[in-house]
Symmetry: C2
Subunit: 364 residues, 2 copies
Amino acid sequence: MKEIIRIGKKEKIEDFISKIEGKKPLFICVIGNTETAKIPSISAAGANPDITDYTPAADMEYLIYEKCKSIEGVPITPDGIPTPALITKASIDLAEISLLVASGGLNIHPQTPFLEFGGQPGKNISNGLALNKVSSVFERAKILGEQISKAVDYLVIGESVAGGTTTALGVLTAMGFDASNKISSSLPKNPIGLKIKTVKLGLKNAGIVAGDLKNEPLKAIKLLGDPMQPVHAGIVIGAAERIPVLLAGGTQMSAVLAIVNSINPLISKNLAIGTTRWIIEDKQADLKGLIDQINPDIPILGANLNFNQMKYDGLKAYEQGVVKEGVGAGGSVIASILSTKGMISIDQIHQKIKDNYRRIVLNE
Amino acid sequence: MKEIIRIGKKEKIEDFISKIEGKKPLFICVIGNTETAKIPSISAAGANPDITDYTPAADMEYLIYEKCKSIEGVPITPDGIPTPALITKASIDLAEISLLVASGGLNIHPQTPFLEFGGQPGKNISNGLALNKVSSVFERAKILGEQISKAVDYLVIGESVAGGTTTALGVLTAMGFDASNKISSSLPKNPIGLKIKTVKLGLKNAGIVAGDLKNEPLKAIKLLGDPMQPVHAGIVIGAAERIPVLLAGGTQMSAVLAIVNSINPLISKNLAIGTTRWIIEDKQADLKGLIDQINPDIPILGANLNFNQMKYDGLKAYEQGVVKEGVGAGGSVIASILSTKGMISIDQIHQKIKDNYRRIVLNE
């Protein structure tokens, strides 16, 4: 079984992999809160809309302490399926990957050390004005990327933002990309109609139409984005002049890539998307179709995770399309396999995920 | 001319240098504010006592932007002598050393990205209660140290805290070390009587006597320390199990070392002090005498900076004992020389400091 699915131009894929194989990554997880997540039925990143504010902080606490501090248990979907942080934790523990938490803007701060850029939580994008201070946050994140790139081999940058696929749709639409049937969801049945309605209302309230912000990515974030985006894109742009960067996530990463590519297309040779098989095989979305519109040179790597043989329903549910990605799950699996040159196998990661599930969900 | 002064056991010195030579450092500068700095005549880290709150933030902005944002010009002593950040900036720019800012607890936050640990500014230590939340801040800093040590070769950890030698005296005294005539000062005439009086009052108000907190370093910080200390010591303890750490500073670093050594003496083989010639030659202080009381195995490395030939009075003043150290100046010089295996010479650093002075102080 192939452990990493490879999509894109063969030469670009091999070039990127050769640059990171056997090297030590730093994994940065950028977290943020947006009121957009509280629109009923739009996000599964939390047991109910109000608790989505706690999801990013709790994810980070789980990664660091193996136990959340801000909530009981771990973040779950309304159906009780646990956070993809279980996958991330298995990977970074096995390969001893370094983790830094970065705050884009939060209502609930994690009880961990974190990087601060002066950002604030995002408003509901249907208002047509989601964020303040996007430029200054972006500039600070760029500085962090420049600085850290002098000290580490490469970066894996993930996210935890409830509501993040809707804000990704917002930014992509404002920038003129055809994303309406290509954006994924943490729910097995993608509430895409609701997302499109939210974005349309946001465009209307912002007084713009799709494509108006083709060359104004920071304005697109300000009007229709979320607080993760300027930090993520800033770090990528700051770092990728010097080192490779794996954008770790699902279709949210296409919005980050659109922002990055618009501001500095020259760094694309140092970029790849790292995601999960569930995103790549998602019939209700089209990550490849999004990336091809933005920059077809960017490889997509997919962690070939398979939970069909798992004996726990909470993990098997991932095969029915629940959750799919988040907290840099796919990218962290890929980094753990490549950084150890395959010494860590996907089977070991499966085993460790099972152990994590037993400990944290079943309390065994 | 020897570029790096070496003090301590030859074997320990050579072992430490061999571990970091040719390797890439990450420089972390831990900053904090304490009301202790506002005691008249106690600190030269700012043109007047009230502005000392701005010094750490402004130092960081200068390092990153080559221009302060929170104040006009750069931090100066009451006599107009500029911040040692000019030395740090010369070194990290020449050797392309990565910089992360870490906040211990601030009234004025830098307009840069920074690491946050949940700390608060410190009160005047003469109260006998200086800080809250020392344990949780320390634990978070330890996590940061553990995490970052998986991704980088070694750490250089400096500080910018106005009033920091007085709080160092506070912690050392509470822990029972004989520090009263060994602590340095940013002033040419060390106001040691005032510092001792401040610490004595603090001990009295805390209801303890010197040495009572021999084995309670975190309590010593809480009663008589500053917000830099738990973050600095936490990062050191978290990181030094895995990688070498250069404690970059003057006699303030003896307080950090006392805390670290009390909590985990086993990591001492990965530690050294990095300072300047001005600290080593300071007749009104005794860094070696402090380190020998704490752990005589710890090497002291000194950047052999010499400003006698400088044509600018603002730099020449360093030879009269003004400033001496701060913002990790000595450690950053040492790291720039060692990381480049001497490709960067102290003469190049002198030249670059002169250029920095011309640009930022003389506006040429």
